[in-house]
């Protein structure tokens, strides 16, 4: 059977992390599953975790009055979902809903933050990886804003 540690060790997000650091992270991890239509979190709720999606698809939505829910992004196999757990006031900025049956690993935010405070090297390693994801996300958002396929070149 695949252990949490095995899965996390092989995931590109944590690839290359020192074994003791990986063990600290595994201590904050648990397996979760969501049925289609089930919400992982809602805007404004406490952001107490992030997810490594193993299988499935989750849409990140923003509800606009008069327009209904607008999908901003989807995440699927292998993606990381959520960084609001790192930054005070630890609240989700969007809704996230499973589009299909989704299995993920949830990492407890409070547990991680406490370990990062005690071990800054671990905190820095994980922060660097999140910074990369944030940069990719920012690039993607900028491209979306350009409306590339619109009428003007």
């Amino acid at each position: 059977m695949e252990t949490l540690e095995g899965i996390l060790a092989e995931h590109p997000f944590l690839h290359g992390l020192a074994r003791p650091h990986l063990e600290l992270i595994v201590g904050c991890a648990s397996n979760v599953r969501f049925d289609p239509g089930q919400f992982l979190f809602h805007e404004g709720e406490e952001a107490d975790r992030f997810y490594i999606i193993r299988h499935g698809r989750v849409r990140v939505e923003l509800f606009a009055p008069g327009r209904g829910p607008i999908t901003i992004q989807t995440v699927d196999d292998g993606d990381i979902l959520g960084w609001s757990w790192m930054l005070a006031p630890y609240q989700w900025h969007f809704d996230a809903q499973a589009v299909e049956l989704t299995r993920a690993i949830a990492l407890d935010g409070e547990c991680l933050r406490a370990k990062f405070e005690r071990d800054h090297d671990l905190g820095y390693e994980v922060l660097k990886r999140f910074a990369q994801i944030m940069q990719q996300r920012l690039d993607a958002t900028r491209l979306q804003l350009l409306d590339l396929y619109g009428n003007s070149r």
Binding site: I70, Q73, A140, L143, L146, L148, Y149
Partner: protein, 287 residues
């Protein structure tokens, strides 16, 4: 002395400058602004052969002439197919043609995707918006000779689910076990069950072996720039990346200079280029 009119009559007209008359066989509405036209010569005659990536100059009589890539199957000898997005006067006039309507055709012109040349490689096709049309002939060709290639991956990004081209075929392609297809849109309501995000985000997860992969990329220039970046991050060699470029055209055969791109003419040296050939121009704003 010869009159001006006589001189004009006698002046040698290069044959590629004379449009052949074609008739509309069938029109398919792909999206609200994009149509696929099947055409054939008005008088009995054979359809010229073309290589995937080449284009024709299509002449809407009374309006004007524009370059449009051939989007059909190179093996199909019964019709010539183009997929056109109505963005201005000429493209709109072409999209308004009905079966039986007549248009002028010059071509096929230009360079082609390196499909035969890439035998043995993994093939990644990255298309954005109308860019799927010029890539479709390459995909037909790859599928017709599927055994000659490693993995074949199609990554396609559209603006919204309603802007997705070739719906029926995409569904067939997705069901094919020897072809990996990923489609994403930039924006969608919750009715859309597929992926939302820009096409470049698909590159990270597609399964291909970067050192032995050839990438064919077609879409808006900004999309192609970011796509190149992602492909290079995955480890693709610069010389394994091919792009199709667009500029306004007049003659289509390298005479007028309208389509100049850096030291090249897109109609003659392109539209398909190996990326290193145009890399300096690609990074220059004014070109």
């Amino acid at each position: 002395m010869a009159t001006v009119a006589e001189t004009a009559q006698r002046a040698p007209v290069p044959e590629p400058m004379v449009p052949a008359l074609y008739q509309i066989q069938k029109v398919r509405r792909e999206t609200h602004d994009t149509f696929t036209l099947d055409i054939r010569p008005q008088v009995q005659g054979s359809i010229p052969r073309f290589a995937p990536g080449q284009f024709n100059m299509l002449y809407a009589y009374g309006t004007g002439e524009v370059p449009i890539s051939i989007s059909g199957d190179p093996a199909d000898t019964a019709r010539m197919v183009h997929t056109i997005r109505a963005v201005g006067a000429v493209s709109r006039a072409l999209c308004e043609l009905k079966p039986g309507g007549v248009l002028g055709v010059r071509g096929p012109f230009g360079s082609h995707w390196p499909v035969d040349e890439s035998a043995g490689a993994d093939m990644v096709l990255v298309a954005g918006g109308i860019g799927l049309a010029p890539l479709r002939p390459a995909l037909y060709r790859l599928l017709a000779e599927r055994g000659r290639y490693g993995r074949v991956v199609l990554l396609y990004g559209a603006r919204t689910p309603e802007d997705i081209l070739f719906h029926r075929e995409l569904k067939q392609w997705r069901a094919q076990f020897d072809l990996e297809v990923h489609v994403t849109v930039d924006r969608a309501t919750s009715k859309w069950q597929g992926s939302v995000g820009v096409v470049t985000t698909l590159i990270r997860k597609a399964s291909f072996d970067p050192p032995s992969t050839v990438a064919l990329v077609c879409g808006p220039e900004v999309m192609m720039r970011f796509t190149i970046g992602e492909l290079q991050r995955r480890g693709l060699a610069t010389e394994s990346i091919f792009l199709s470029m667009e500029r306004n055209m007049k003659c289509g055969i390298g005479l007028c200079g309208h389509c100049q791109y850096g030291p090249t003419f897109i109609c003659k040296d392109g539209p398909v280029y190996p990326y290193p050939r145009i890399a300096p121009a690609f990074a220059t704003r004014e070109i």
